[in-house]
Symmetry: C2
Subunit: 401 residues, 2 copies
């Protein structure tokens, strides 16, 4: 049967992620800086498997049964404690477990975005958030960043302009700490200024925070949500980096009214987040395994970041620059403006056996071609040095063409 | 901050499930026939916990890592074999694991429904499917059933009328075996006639099949998908009843083009189905634990169904009738037409301490008030007899008011 005539108009706005498509053609001999995969080699698999066994043996009739859309109470109580250690005060009615933080993004889009509504983001920003917002046909406006993060004066200009045009600005989506893709952390002053501006213009703020738990050096990572006195910040985070991605578990912290709406939206999507994943996360938190693992990856990832920074300064040709992230998983590389990194990728993968994500995918509303995102958490130290050298050679060849 | 002005128009079409809301007010002294919960008391928790431990110890670096949106290959290969035993021939590119079959319904709605498009369903039908379709603002048209399931002549009249009106009919959604909420199984002749009609009118058919694996007596349960020669059936099923709901794992079998679209849609929602759940299901299938458990619940649920049928004939007052399901989890009760079961529910819960789901919630496009859905899988045998007696008393009091 031919389904062409049956597809929704929405289907035109769905697009497979460039990164995930790219990962498909990476063969075993290619060093990939493309994905955003955590390094699981230090995972305490023994403890994890004991916890999984314990959870099923001891809470099996709950952990394997249907649960409330609102989430497992035991997990939410642990999250209340976990969040409070990062300065966020919330009770368990303000927390919603989700299928990764991707689902949190989806839910926010679903509850708030009508076609043509404006969403403001950093420029560049997380591409899977762009993907989710685009399905709902948001008009996405990017605002520039510098080394201190989102530029608040530019943000204000943008908001003023949009309001004067009569645009319906639904929210600002931001990743303040170790941003994806740039690795940049917004300064504390900027964070305060952002909230002050949000209050002045009555903006809702979506704070996506996967990385602040494991920064590599002393840097202020106070969440916007911890500074939020007006309930305008919707905080979302994930266990993908601090436990493991395979349980697909994220969570939202927001005012109860927002949480209620997100839960209603979630019900029609998947009834609830896997109870098994929720009980496993609960038990890992309760036993302190998460905290211990956070210190392990902080050390591991710092060494890898340092290796990649070192390799970049050793091998990269003149005219190439990069960010120096305090944490997270990515370094953002800028190459001479003649290079279109999306075009160079075939050469990089096929001849030099190295992969990255072209920067273009991260831009909400303009075409910028001379960036790439490099992941430093998944490859080994040897692969980092070898891969950066290969990438430098690819850039040199491409420049000299 | 006040979010009222920020909600999407879509939010008006989101509604918390009546069942899930109802479950919230059921206290410990209430016997609930309301939910659709499986009985987990026979679950081989020891084997399940061993499998979970084994999966993490042996496949941990895959089972806890990010995976492809398309799903875990090992699970899909097992599903190919599992499906073939039910007459469905598919290769693994035609299979997509989802977060419960609820997500499969969501994906189909997302990919195919524009506002105003027509969806045809049985009348009554699964309420969470109605919920999902309504978010996408489908116009849902119900077609009558009798004891042999969907009435194909009425379906043809409906399709003809809709086509002559120029309606965009996107698909027929059906639960052919042990339908939710009625428990009715479509006869094999009807199933063949349905496919013949679908071919003639070029209709896509969504076949939702959670229950056929554990029918209680010899009844033909050949899936539409097994009879489908034109790729017009999108089959969806779930492990919620045959493994456990807490891993939230369902799957779709459809033509590759449909699977591709559903996967693209899924990516923006949650990236992928939990890899841990997928590996656990894979291992449970591979070890034959699922098949063994299916025979266990077949026996357990048969005894419970028989108990409920017996209790109904013992206690129900004259004028009350009910279906006699060959499997599944539900009996559909019809009370005298003067009774509005949604109004009687308060009396039933508060005074008689028994809960059910009012039939009204299952009707797509008309108001029918004198039905209720009773679940027989979750309560114990004692609760079934006691609860049906209480319910009969509630009905008698309500009739005599």
């Amino acid at each position: 049967m031919n389904i062409d005539g049956l597809l929704s108009e929405r289907a035109n706005y769905m697009k497979a992620s460039d990164i995930r498509e790219l990962l498909k053609w990476v063969t075993a001999d290619v060093i990939s800086f493309g994905g955003g995969l955590p390094d699981l080699s230090q995972l305490p698999l023994g403890e994890y498997s004991d916890v999984a066994k314990y959870v099923i043996s001891n809470y099996g009739l709950k952990a394997l049964q249907y649960g409330k859309t609102e989430g497992v109470d035991e997990l939410k109580d642990e999250l209340v404690k976990f969040m409070s250690r990062y300065g966020i005060r919330a009770d368990s009615t303000q927390i919603l477990p989700t299928v990764g933080s991707q689902e949190a993004i989806e839910l926010v889009a679903r509850v708030f975005i009508d076609p043509g509504d404006v969403i403001i983001t950093e420029k560049p920003t997380y591409l899977a958030a762009l993907q989710a917002f685009r399905v709902y046909r948001a008009r996405i406006i990017g605002v520039d960043m510098d080394n201190d993060g989102l530029m608040i004066d530019k943000l204000e200009d943008t908001v003023k302009r949009l309001k004067s045009e009569g645009a319906r600005v639904k929210f600002l989506y931001t990743i303040p700490v170790c941003q994806n893709p740039t690795g940049i952390t917004m300064s504390l002053d900027r964070r305060k200024a952002l909230l002050e501006l949000a209050s002045r213009y009555d903006l809702m703020v979506i704070e996506d925070n996967p990385y602040s738990y494991f920064t590599f050096e002393p840097v202020d990572t106070t969440p916007l949500k911890a500074l939020d006195r007006e309930g305008r910040v919707v905080y979302m985070s994930t266990f993908s980096k601090i436990i493991a991605p395979g349980i697909r578990l994220g969570w939202v912290v927001a005012d109860q009214e927002v949480v209620n709406w997100l839960a209603i939206a979630k019900q029609a999507i998947d009834l609830h987040t896997p109870t098994l994943s929720q009980y496993i996360a609960y038990e890992l938190l309760r036993r302190g395994i998460v905290d211990k693992y956070i210190s392990v990856i902080r050390e591991t990832y710092k060494v890898k970041r340092d290796a990649m920074l070192d390799a970049l300064s050793r091998y990269m040709p003149r005219g190439v620059s990069w960010t120096r992230p305090s944490g997270g998983m990515f370094i953002w590389v800028t190459v001479p403006s003649g290079i279109r990194t999306e075009d160079m990728l075939a050469l990089a993968i096929r001849k030099y056996k190295v992969a990255y994500v072209p920067g273009k995918s991260f831009y909400p509303d303009e075409d910028v071609h001379n960036n790439m995102r490099l992941n430093f958490t998944y490859p080994t130290i040897d692969q980092i040095y070898d891969g950066v050298r290969r990438l430098a050679n690819a850039i040199s060849e491409y420049l000299n063409q």
